[in-house]
C-alpha cells in the first residue's frame, strides 16, 4: 500500500478553494441569512462560486452534505449492532441488513463479530422490531450496543491539507 496515495491524490485533484471549503467549515457554519456569501467573503470569492463548488464536491462524493450532525439519541432511537456471520453467508446477510432504510452504516470488520451496523428509528419499539426481524430472517443473533454516554467533542476532522492562508480564486 502506498502510504501517501490518499492525500497526494486529493491535493492533486482539489483546488485551494475546494480544500478550504472541505477543511475550514466543518463546524461553526454561519447562522446568518446568506451563509454562503459570508464564507465567500472570508475566502475572497463569490457566493455563486461557493455554492457551485459545494455542489460539485457533493456530486463527486467528497461531501456527504452541508448541514447538521445530530447527537445520537437526542431524537429518535439508535443503536450499534453486531452479528457473527459465517463467511459464506456474509454478503447475503449484509444485503438483507441493507434493505432496511433504518440502517445507515454497515461495515464488515475483522473479528468473530464481523458485521457491524447502525440502526436509527423513530422510537425504541420500532428499533426492537427491526432487530427481531433481522434475527428471524437471518437465523443469527444480533448483539446490540446502544450508546450510554458520549465523550466526543465533534469539531470535524482535520484533513491535513497543505493550505495557503488565503488568496484570490
Amino acid at each position: 500500500m502506498n502510504l501517501d496515495t490518499g492525500n497526494k491524490l486529493s491535493e492533486q485533484q482539489l483546488s485551494q478553494l475546494e480544500m478550504h471549503l472541505l477543511n475550514d467549515f466543518q463546524h461553526g457554519f454561519p447562522l446568518v441569512s446568506r451563509p454562503y456569501k459570508k464564507i465567500a467573503d472570508e475566502l475572497g470569492t463569490t457566493e455563486e462560486t461557493v455554492i457551485e463548488t459545494l455542489n460539485t464536491l457533493q456530486q463527486t462524493g467528497y461531501v456527504s452534505r452541508v448541514g447538521a450532525v445530530f447527537r445520537a439519541n437526542s431524537i429518535g432511537a439508535s443503536t450499534l449492532a453486531a452479528m457473527a456471520v459465517p463467511g459464506e453467508e456474509l454478503e447475503q446477510v449484509a444485503a438483507l441488513v441493507n434493505e432496511y432504510s433504518e440502517v445507515n452504516h454497515n461495515y464488515q470488520r475483522e473479528h468473530h463479530y464481523n458485521l457491524w451496523f447502525v440502526l436509527t428509528a423513530s422510537d425504541e419499539h420500532t428499533l426492537n422490531a427491526i432487530l427481531d426481524d433481522i434475527e428471524q430472517r437471518t437465523g443469527h443473533a444480533v448483539m446490540y450496543l446502544p450508546m450510554l454516554e458520549d465523550f466526543h467533542i465533534d469539531l470535524g476532522f482535520d484533513l491535513g491539507f497543505d493550505l495557503e492562508p488565503d488568496s484570490g480564486y
Binding site: 459545494l54 447538521a68 464488515q108 436509527t120 450510554l148
Partner: protein
C-alpha cells in the same frame, strides 16, 4: 492508574425538549441544508416559518447540543482516509468517564461512546472510531491515544473495517 492529563468536561445536558416544529425542522435538515443563497429562508418556507425563527431554532438546537456541529460533512474514505478501526476498550466502570473524556478530545477520534458490555462474549465498554490514511496511520494514532490517556494496561481490540456495505446520514422518521 495515574491520571495526569488535563480533561475537558463533556457537555452533555439532559435531553432537550423538542416541540413539533423542532422535530419537523430536524427531519427536514437530515439531508442537509439547501445549497441556495438563502438556505434558512428556504427551509422555513416548507415549515411556514420565517427565516429568523429557523435560524433561532437551529441556534438553540446547537446550544442544547442536539446538534453537535453544523457545517460541511465530508466523506473520509473518498478524501484519502481509507482506513478506519473501531477500537474498543475494556475499562473499569469507575474510570470510564475520565478516560472517555480524555480520548474524546483527540481529533482523529471521530466517535467516543460508552456502551454496555455483553458478557461473556463482549467485555468492551468504550468504543472509539479511529481514522487514518492507512492501517499504519490508524495504529500509530491508537498508540498515541493509549500513551496520552494512560491506556497501555487496558485490554483493547482493534477492529479494522474491510468492506463498507452502506454509509449515509441517519434518517429519523
Amino acid at each position: 492508574m495515574d491520571m495526569k492529563v488535563k480533561y475537558r468536561l463533556p457537555s452533555l445536558p439532559p435531553q432537550a425538549e423538542l416541540d413539533d416544529i423542532d422535530q419537523a425542522l430536524i427531519t427536514l435538515m437530515q439531508r442537509g441544508l439547501p445549497l441556495s443563497p438563502t438556505p434558512y429562508a428556504d427551509l422555513g418556507k416548507k415549515l411556514q416559518l420565517d427565516e429568523d425563527e429557523v435560524i433561532q431554532r437551529i441556534q438553540k438546537l446547537d446550544n442544547d447540543n442536539v446538534i453537535k456541529r453544523l457545517g460541511v460533512v465530508v466523506r473520509h474514505h473518498e478524501l484519502g482516509y481509507k482506513a478506519n478501526a473501531m477500537t474498543v476498550w475494556n475499562i473499569p466502570d469507575e474510570l470510564v468517564s475520565e478516560l472517555g473524556t480524555c480520548m474524546g478530545q483527540f481529533d482523529f477520534v471521530t466517535l467516543c461512546y460508552r456502551r454496555p458490555r455483553r458478557l461473556p462474549e463482549w467485555p468492551y465498554n468504550l468504543f472509539t472510531m479511529i481514522h487514518g490514511k492507512d492501517r499504519e496511520d490508524v495504529l500509530a494514532n491508537i498508540a498515541l491515544l493509549a500513551k496520552r490517556c494512560n491506556l497501555d494496561e487496558v485490554e483493547r481490540k482493534v477492529l479494522f473495517s474491510t468492506r463498507r456495505f452502506k454509509q449515509r446520514g441517519a434518517i429519523y422518521r
